[in-house]
């Protein structure tokens, strides 16, 4: 494997250009639609029902959405587009609302009270929040590229598709070739993502995707009206007491044999990964901090963190699983490295603004007595933000064979038992909403704040 990593093969993949084109196009369209839908949701985000709805759709991982839409639209671009756009719109709605809430309210108060909500938002709030919103959207586009790549693991034609095959066959040169190209795409974003070019990109993406847009509504209807209806109800002639008992037994069995063991694996895994994420972040942020290292070493630190955080945790976990076989360790390591690198990067950036006294200490003393206390509240806030994300990812790592909730969901999909899959997905969603709420509660309680463009995803 190490040999493969240093001898990358860039041309071993079938249809390489098309693969990268698809990866970028799915991300671009998914994020664009998610951002537009998220913006409209922002207009009504003050309704409690909308908040809950958004929390729900973003609590379900892209891969689970993809598995659902595969049943309806098959392996088409529509599946990829929706799998990204739906959870992202929930995230956008929340973050956009937060950004707009933090905007200066003075202009809004000068308006006539009968001004429509939308006009007021567009004139008095949005313009001055726009830079913030744009930079957040751009950050999410980077996430979108990772999501799009990972969708390949369930068969959509993005780089994850070929990564998985190459891994399975042990073609590690192809793996490293693909990953290096993927890092380059992400690292070069600032040169090719230009607001003026976006309409062109979107148009070309839409144009290229048009072939797959035939939608069969029958499949959709069948999925919602029959496939996900619990088996005892689906096969019953009418809804009577026997059916009711059958349904209860079905639910009980599902909870006892799948949901409960899944939770028992998912929650400790999340907590351990969260702690390790914190440790890794605290250990790595000095690498990019001017308080500790000179420019050249910092550049190396930046490259190190960029590589780790640009590799989707799903792919990291996959690599570690190949190395050490299936256990919780690869999952914990993958989650901690990826999320730790993100937090380490954000905290390291924060320290750039710290001014040192003339007589300040150096090295370990500087770290322990001056830097760490200064960044600590920030660090805790970021960590709480990532909590929910780590939980989402923990569930999804089940697809790789670790017995989290995702394992049972994937098994249900394999068995073509969509009723069970759907029930288990609902449970993961509720778990995520619970964590999201709890971490928000803790942050408010401890008065931890970050600026809205940081750390949330």
């Amino acid at each position: 494997m190490a040999k493969g990593a240093v001898t990358p093969d860039f041309f071993a993949t079938e249809n390489l250009v098309g693969t990268f084109f698809n990866t970028v196009a799915f991300a671009l369209l998914g994020v664009a639609f998610g951002s537009i839908a998220g913006f409209f949701l922002t207009l009504v985000f003050h309704h409690r029902a909308v908040k809950v709805f958004c929390a729900f759709i973003r609590a379900i991982h892209e891969l689970f959405w993809a598995l659902i839409f595969l049943q309806i639209f098959g392996l088409t671009p529509v599946t990829a587009l929706l799998a990204i756009a739906i959870p992202y719109s929930g995230v956008f709605a929340k973050v956009y609302s937060e950004i707009l809430e933090e905007a200066d309210t003075a202009p809004l108060r000068t308006l006539h009270p009968e001004t429509s909500r939308l006009s007021a938002l567009l004139y008095a709030r949005l313009p001055d929040s726009m830079p913030h919103i744009l930079s957040y959207t751009l950050y999410r586009f980077e996430c979108g590229l990772r999501s799009s790549a990972v969708l390949g693991f369930v068969g959509l034609p993005t780089i994850g598709y070929h990564l998985e095959s190459a891994f399975a066959q042990g073609n590690y040169s192809e793996v490293s070739g693909l990953l290096i190209l993927f890092y380059l795409v992400i690292a070069s974003m600032r040169w090719w993502v230009r607001p003026k070019l976006l309409p062109v990109y979107l148009f070309v993406s839409m144009f290229a995707m048009r072939g797959g847009a035939e939608i069969n509504w029958e499949n959709g209807y069948r999925f919602f009206a029959s496939d996900i209806v619990p088996h005892p109800v689906r096969v019953a002639e009418n809804f009577d007491l026997t059916t009711m008992m059958g349904l209860l037994e079905w639910t009980r069995k599902l909870i006892m044999t799948q949901a409960y063991p899944g939770l028992l694996e998912t929650i400790p895994l999340t907590m351990i990964a969260l702690v390790c994420t914190g440790v890794f972040a605290l250990a790595t942020f000095p690498l990019i901090s001017p308080l500790f290292f000179g420019a050249r070493l910092r550049l190396a630190g930046h490259i190190f963190l960029v590589i780790i955080r640009s590799t989707p945790e799903y792919i990291l976990a996959y690599i570690f699983l190949q190395l050490w076989g299936p256990s919780a360790i690869p999952a914990i390591l993958a989650l901690s490295l990826h999320n730790g690198a993100i937090i380490g990067h954000l905290i390291g950036r924060r320290t750039e603004k710290h001014e040192l006294r003339q007589d300040s200490s150096t090295g370990l003393n500087l770290y322990a007595f001056e830097t760490l206390p200064a960044v600590y509240p920030n660090f805790m806030a970021f960590l709480f933000y990532r909590w929910e994300i780590i939980m989402r990812e923990t569930a999804i790592l089940g697809i790789l064979g670790i017995h989290t909730l995702g394992f049972y969901i994937d098994s249900s999909f394999s068995d073509m038992r969509f009723d069970r899959a759907f029930f288990l997905i609902l449970i993961t969603a509720l778990l995520n909403i619970g964590i999201d709420w709890f971490s928000g509660f803790l942050r408010r309680r401890l008065r931890l704040r970050t600026t809205p463009d940081d750390g949330k995803s």
Binding site: Q169, G170, V204, G401
Partner: protein
């Protein structure tokens, strides 16, 4: 801006073509080497196209269930399924039928393989000594890598695999099962005998590290299944034409894609045993 546009137009022409409803489309479950699926099966597509006189396309899928879903949703009309996935597909798409199976599929077997460090030797029956070891199946939806081995394990121990072994995994496909047992990541695995023989021939197996410890009784496995409504689009007798084309396939190069010696006739009832086993261990409702 204009240059960017031109570049992207150029790129878009390379983009993967999506399933087109006009073409007769088929897929195959991904049970071994998934790379170069296109190169392997496009040859089969052009053979079928020539024999049938219609446009034929191959779409690759990533999992057994994706193959079944595509078949059920009429995104593919013909599929090379395993025993279990075929039964599932025919249940979900009423009217569809098995039309051909590989010569070898009439008496298919699964090999239980073990890493040398376990000290397990070849035997005529499944040994109780496998209990407590680590074990890997192939794909969750595989007949030879999941259904049949699980059936025999349950038969012997009267317990679920989870309770028999210290750890149970799903490697994803047969090639990976062999690799994982050979490397020692798992002690024991269950693998499709055709894939084992194929990899042995290709020199990928080190027999000092991994060997066969038991061979299951025979059962019917892989088969070609076609949807019942193909006549509506491609005319009466289309199913028979497809069946003939498959049975007539004798180019070793094409057959190596499966890999089978030849194809013989098959019917839905050939797969009754699979249905029964599936129900008995709770994989089918």
């Amino acid at each position: 801006m204009l240059r960017g546009f031109a570049l992207f137009l150029l790129l878009s022409t390379f983009s993967v073509e999506m399933a087109n409803c006009a073409a007769f489309t088929f897929t195959a479950i991904p049970d071994e080497d998934e790379t170069r699926l296109h190169s392997r099966f496009d040859k089969v597509a052009s053979y079928l196209s020539q024999e049938l006189g219609v446009e034929v396309k191959f779409v690759p899928v990533k999992s057994y269930s994706a193959a079944v879903t595509a078949f059920r949703n009429n995104q593919v009309q013909l599929a090379w399924f395993g025993g279990l996935s075929g039964v599932r597909a025919r249940n979900l798409a009423p009217g569809s039928s098995a039309i051909a199976q590989g010569y070898e599929d009439q008496f298919f077997v699964t090999y239980f393989i073990a890493n040398a460090k376990t000290g397990l030797k070849t035997s005529d029956e499944l040994q109780k000594a496998i209990a407590g070891k680590t074990f890997t199946f192939g794909s969750k939806g595989s007949t030879s890598g999941r259904l049949m081995p699980e059936f025999h394990i349950r038969n012997l121990f009267n317990k679920a695999p989870d309770e028999v072994f210290s750890r149970v995994g799903f490697s994803g496909d047969h090639s990976r099962t062999i690799a994982l047992v050979q490397s020692g990541a798992y002690d024991i695995g269950a693998v499709n005998f055709k894939v084992w023989e194929n990899e042995l021939k290709a020199g990928k197996i080190d027999e000092s590290k991994v060997s066969i410890i038991w061979e299951t009784p025979t059962y019917p496995d892989y088969q070609w299944t076609i949807r019942g409504d193909v006549a509506k689009t491609w005319g009466d007798g289309f199913t028979q034409k497809v069946q003939k084309a498959l049975l007539d396939m004798n180019d070793p190069d094409l057959l190596a894609s499966f890999p089978r010696k030849s194809f013989v006739k098959a019917t839905n009832s050939d797969y009754e045993p699979i249905l029964k086993v599936g129900k008995s261990i709770g994989l089918l409702d």
